[in-house]
């Protein structure tokens, strides 16, 4: 009974303040006045979260921020089950790519917010303010220079799938369970057509998690892998690993991940004011630096920093394979099906 009443009250509050809220920039809000609790579902690395948590405690001393970390697939299924039950366990989502945001926007669980400095963002955002990009995971190729000569392996996404000398020595993430992998194959599908999937299938590319693939690169079981740049950079900085990124000549695939505020009627703490303040912080140059420290790319044109051993964002953007988010969302079933028929389960 309590929950229902609270939800109703929260919904009413949203209705009353909703119109005004969008117009007011949170710049005016003093961080010390941001109170209550916020639960964030995120797929960022745990180490990064530890650091963010400390930083957020400094910036918002009176706000209790709790991160719930999980893989994007795990989180999306958790959210789906929660939506079925009528209430989410979080207030903010920092998970998955824009196509998922489109879906959640359609489902009506998101809260719109007009971010004041959106002109500084170099990636797509929702014109109505339901979601903004906040960090970028870049899909690249990687190899092990200790075991393989770079001249012997493909340096384009195209050859990754078509250079038959690589058959059986390749690995990539599963587009059926990972959002970034899915976005990447949609980009590649647009660029090279269905044949790209057929070629991948003929290469016997192994489909597995990035951490397993990286280990296989170290042991030599795989010669080249399609992987998120951040996972290689992290290994290089933390373990002094020799594994190297190849920025494909036909382009890497930067996949932005979004920041979404859950509507108060669905959220765990009905604290969208605080969520807006958090969004301002994460999109600010200071917040972006935290992201970049976590080996991901930022989303602002006015932040010069880039991840350890990475490249400036402008260079990444200069040679990037674009992804059609609308298509990702609308044609998901067909694309998934096509991929699994050509690549994951060949016979049948």
């Amino acid at each position: 009974m309590n929950i229902r009443m609270m939800t109703a009250a929260a919904a009413a509050a949203v209705l009353m303040t909703g119109a005004g809220a969008a117009a007011v920039s949170a710049e005016a809000v003093n961080p010390e006045d941001v109170t209550g609790k916020i639960v964030i579902y995120t797929s960022m690395y745990e180490d990064i979260i530890d650091e963010m948590q400390t930083e957020l405690e400094d910036v918002f001393p009176n706000l209790d921020v709790e991160f719930f970390q999980g893989g994007s697939g795990t989180l999306q299924s958790k959210i789906a089950a929660e939506m079925d039950a009528g209430k989410l366990g979080c207030d903010v989502l920092m998970v998955a790519e824009p196509s998922y945001s489109l879906e959640l926007k359609d489902a009506g669980v998101l809260h719109p917010y007009d971010y004041a400095e959106k002109d500084k963002l170099v990636f797509d955002y929702d014109p109505e303010g339901y979601w903004y990009p906040v960090r970028v995971c870049n899909m690249v190729l990687a190899y092990n220079p200790e075991l393989t000569d770079k001249s012997e392996i493909p340096v384009t996404m195209k050859d990754f799938a078509s250079d038959t000398a690589m058959k059986g020595a390749l690995s990539m993430s599963n587009p059926l369970t990972s959002g970034t992998a899915y976005s990447s194959i949609v980009g590649l599908l647009d660029l090279y057509g269905e044949d790209y999937f057929k070629d991948l299938g003929a290469q016997n590319v192994a489909i597995e998690s990035g951490s397993v693939a990286l280990t296989k690169l170290e042991t030599g079981e795989c010669k080249e892998i399609m992987v998120l740049e951040e996972s290689v950079l992290k290994k290089r900085e933390e373990e002094g690993s020799a594994l190297e990124v190849i920025y494909p000549e036909d382009g890497s695939i930067p996949v932005p991940s979004t920041f979404m505020i859950v509507d108060d009627s669905y959220s765990a703490n009905a604290n969208s004011k605080a969520a807006e303040a958090l969004e301002d912080y994460f999109l600010s140059p200071d917040g972006q630096k935290l992201i970049i420290k976590g080996w991901m790319y930022g989303v602002r044109s006015d932040v010069e920093e880039y991840p350890y051993d990475g490249r400036p964002l402008s260079e990444i953007l200069a040679n990037a394979i674009p992804v059609d988010w609308e298509k990702c969302y609308k044609e998901r079933e067909d694309i998934r099906r096509m991929f699994q028929e050509y690549v994951t389960v060949p016979e049948a």
């Binding site: 745990e46 959210i79 789906a80 009528g86 209430k87 075991l147 059926l176 369970t177 951490s211």
Partner: protein, 561 residues
Amino acid sequence: MNPAKNHCFDIKWVLMLAVVAFLLVFQVFPLLYMVFRMFFASGHFSMDAVKRIYSYALNRTCLKNTLVASGLTMVFGVLIAFPLAFLIGRTNLYGKTLFRTLFVTTYMVPPYVGAMAWLRLLNPTVGTLNVFLKNLFGLSGAPFSIYSIGGLVWVLTTFYYPYAFITISRAMEKMDPSLEEAARISGASPLKTLITVTLPLMLPSIAASALLVFVAAASCYGIPSIIGVPGRIYTVTTRIVDYVYVGSQEGLTDATALAVFLMVMALILMLLSDFIVGKKDYITISGKSVRPALVDLGKWRVPLTVLVAVFALIVAVLPFVTVFATSFTVNMGKSVFVPGNFTMKYWGILTSRKSIGKSMRNSVLSAVWAASMGMIVCLLMSYLLKRTKVKGRQIPNFLITLGSGTPSVAIALALIMTMSGRFGINIYNTMLIMVIAYMIKYMMMGMQTVSAAFAQVSPSMEEAAQISGAGWLRRIRDVVLPLIVPSIVAGWFLIFMPCFYELTMSNLLYADQTKTLGVELYNYQTYHSQQTASALAGGILIMVVLCNTLIYKLTKGRVSI
């Protein structure tokens, strides 16, 4: 009927009804809701989801793979477990205690960590064991490939035969030896006695353990995802997770439709095993002799010991060594013995992270709760099944088997959908929801062990106590429990262990305060490094072995797993 009898009748039924109610609310309702959702996804009844899923050729391949892989695992598992249980439990084999510990220890390694170890040992390009064999015999290619249905069956078997081993061992040690003695006295050879007396007597336990192995293998996700998927061998569980991770409502529906297949499989198998065991009443423990005589292996003693030792080396020692070696290696491409490639830092991470201590506490707590509550349910339901003539007494056993046959991910999602307030119960984000999920998934292990024990204890002793005036509770406490205590301990541990490092359900159900070791392990494995995950798995292993040794010493060898 005298009043005293009426009174004990009541307590018995109150307790049993409570358990049945518990099962109805926390298991039947969520799972039914899932099935209901599958047919009514669009608001009205429709078979679309079922048709869509089962008419899809890829899915049928997955069904076939699951049936083949878990069927073979079941056959091999029992074929390995029975002779091992006999040799270790009933003969004068050398080093029996050590062997038992080793075989049981396999049960304590999280399967996904073990799968990683096998992947490193047997991958076709640079697998350690493959390279070793290649050099040893001068082969041109790798002798084995882990990425095959054979590889999948191999890893599944090495991880799930202990289920059968533990179940069969228990029964074997509690067997009435007089039947065997009679056969021997009548001139049967030890082998003939084994085949004509011991084996048939063990049939209920063998059937129970075969069911356990099949269900565990068919609903396992960790091993197929690590071994099968890269080799393009998709199983029902990996497909279900593919559907679930779409993260859409339709994805959930499709996943359910596929999950139902596993539930149905578990049910069919259970009916089949009931049919095989039939109405035969194998009472092998009566109030008489206790210690079964050991069979003298004679001239076979040394060769058989060597054979078992080789098996233990390959199946238990090798993967453990691999896990430990991994946890000390900086660059996985080089041997741990290469200068500069040895490190303690991954073990350092374990001790420096405060969240690991908390997760450890949560894991112990939730697994203890699940195992203890689970055993209470199993005890009462076994009693109901084996000692009463109530109509429908098989139903709870059915439900428990059904729960185990349901893929973990389906259980977790069903609980989230039904237990987060929508139907008046809100235990989402608490430890209780995890405990309940664990119970649904793993109670079958306890149920099989305890009901097999009940089946072997003659009711005559209980009746004797009853005639002497003991009430139901007293009879249970003084007669039944002492006779089946080893089975209870074994059952408790069989539930405790997988809950302790459970991964799939915990990953969906944990909240900030209820994070468990399985979640940590999964995160390290997937997002950080194999090395940290191996260190964590190694730590878990050391702890469990220490616990087991401690219990063994404290109880002077009467209780251990």
